[in-house]
Symmetry: C2
Subunit: 344 residues, 2 copies
């Protein structure tokens, strides 16, 4: 633990905190007529569709402050929230932020959290326009609402997949989940033997996947350049299995995935095996990778298939309510037996 002097939030006060947020997030977009500080924010709209998406992040459920640097947490919650706007093929523009936290939280801690949020807002080009700050007797709870836009004919929902579409996923999967396993292991070691240094070296990639993931803004830009509008799309927040089922169900179809095709980084794979876990199950059920899963026509897939960021992992089928994956050994397994994150 550091010995530097820390300042309890009580000393700053609510208005001091709002002032700090105002300074860290100056308004630049001239469509924003009114930012933080009044009853509402106000912005000029236009003829495109407006998109909104809300995410909550609760201490002890979504993050553990024992091993989560607050600056990374700030970055991650913004990235995870705007990821939902990208998953509509949209562009995030504005963000509102609710923070509930104990008054024993330090000002230095809130600075780190906000600094991470600001870095993400800068990278994704979104502006914080309002929110609410309050105390909590129950740890840190963050609520973010992203507002964005999309042209009417470019919006991509979960529901538009056609029978025989290729299911394409970006990046690699399972890394964020294995990052979590490492952090949980080191936490257990730390609690038992506080003097022990955590063994995190060599795991930089998967730790970054867990602690400071990126939303695939770059993928949305690539799709636009290639003039591709996927038939359906979703971000991979709960694992490939449940996301593929979401697209198939919403589109009135079935789906079939192929374990052979799962994009798994070597570090993820090796670590999973060292934990005696099946890397493919980490892909199907792991979650928090914030990659994009899309259903595209065969023609569009031809334009994507040689690009390094895209991997075909399966296809939709006409077999309504049948969601399966084919194992390395050729067996067909039901996805709902292995997939999904249970919140309650």
């Amino acid at each position: 633990m550091s010995q530097e002097k820390l300042t309890p939030l009580e000393e700053l006060g609510e208005f001091g905190l709002i002032e700090k947020i105002n300074q860290l997030f100056p308004i630049k977009n001239d469509k924003i007529v009114l930012g933080i500080g009044d009853d509402s924010a106000a912005f000029q709209s236009n003829e495109e569709l407006t998109l909104t998406s809300t995410d909550m992040y609760v201490e002890g459920v979504h993050f553990d402050l024992v091993y989560t640097p607050l600056q990374h947490l700030g970055y991650k919650v913004v990235a995870a929230t705007v990821s939902d706007i990208y998953a509509m093929n949209g562009t995030p523009q504005y963000l509102t932020l609710g923070i509930a936290m104990s008054s024993k939280f330090t000002v230095e801690a809130i600075d780190a959290l906000l600094t991470g949020m600001r870095a993400a807002c800068t990278y994704y080009n979104v502006e914080l326009i309002g929110g609410d700050t309050t105390t909590s007797r129950m740890g840190l709870c963050l609520s973010l609402t992203a507002i964005g836009k999309v042209a009417k004919d470019k919006m991509v929902t979960r529901a538009g997949a056609k029978n025989g579409d290729v299911l394409v996923v970006t990046g690699d999967l399972g890394g964020a989940y294995m990052g979590l396993q490492i952090l949980e292991r080191e936490k257990r070691v730390y609690l038992e033997t506080p003097d022990m240094q955590p063994e995190l070296q060599g795991h930089e990639y998967i730790l970054k996947r867990q602690l400071r993931p990126e939303a695939r803004k770059d993928v949305i830009d690539q799709l636009a350049e290639l003039n591709i509008v996927p038939n359906a799309m979703i971000d991979v927040s709960d694992g490939l299995g449940s996301e593929a089922m979401h697209i198939a169900k919403a589109s009135g179809l079935g789906c079939k995935l192929f374990e052979d095709k799962f994009p798994i980084d070597e570090a993820t794979s090796e670590l999973a095996l060292s934990f005696r876990m099946d890397p493919s199950i980490c892909v199907l059920s792991g979650g928090e990778d914030y990659e994009l899963l899309m259903a595209v026509s065969i023609d569009d897939y031809e334009k994507l298939k040689n690009l390094p960021d895209f991997t075909a992992v399966g296809h939709t089928t006409g077999a309504l309510d049948t969601f399966t994956y084919i194992t390395h050994g050729g067996n067909e397994i039901k996805l709902d037996e292995v997939s999904g994150f249970k919140h309650f």
Copy 2:
């Protein structure tokens, strides 16, 4: 305590909960292209300004489930959130909802909460378009973002008051705070003597002010009919004193209030005295009344002054950073010595 069989939330599951929310809040507005269930909601915008406002409500801070019926709580959080949109002279249209709650919460409890929210959404004509549901190890935490609209030349911020404007407040003040005192007293009695029946009779008005307040949609309608656009406006969520200071500070002015003019319901006044509290201090610092405080020109005040819903309580002054009230006895007291709700 009721003996009926209750269902743990675990049995419903996250998707069951989302389905329930979907059923309770069917989409009616044809501007909403996409409601709950995809990554984002999507709605058609227009040339007016879009307003957004976010509020968080945390168990143990903003409400106590010992004495708060969940149906009322659901109604109240929606009313309190849209109140910020009315305070801009706007019309709320859409709502997003984040719920974090323990999996031990019952399905009957969530039904009551959502039913109250739905009643408020119906009354204020807003539609729930999305959100997030998650578990919490730390009690119930609700985050609501209201989105609304206002014509560019009709938006009212805190910052437009002119020197010599009349400060006009709607309804009566202090009631919600006294309602809270009654409920806290009965809770203490209940904890000491569980068999005792709570003494709530005769306090219906102030209990309603605390448990099921209304946002002043009707006042916004009246202002429009009278063709009045206030120079500045704010909703009274933290007490008259701090709200008057917010308007004065944001407008680069001072303000002076008059205790003689404070609108206090007889029930509030009597109860405050029985608690040995000063009713005027309840008005200045009590909060949660969700009335509107506005700064209007003398000419506009002439149109309002005979209407029962509006009371002049003071005026703005040219004395920058001087915020006072004149007591019954004629003394001038600084508002920042008596006002405001300290969150941290």
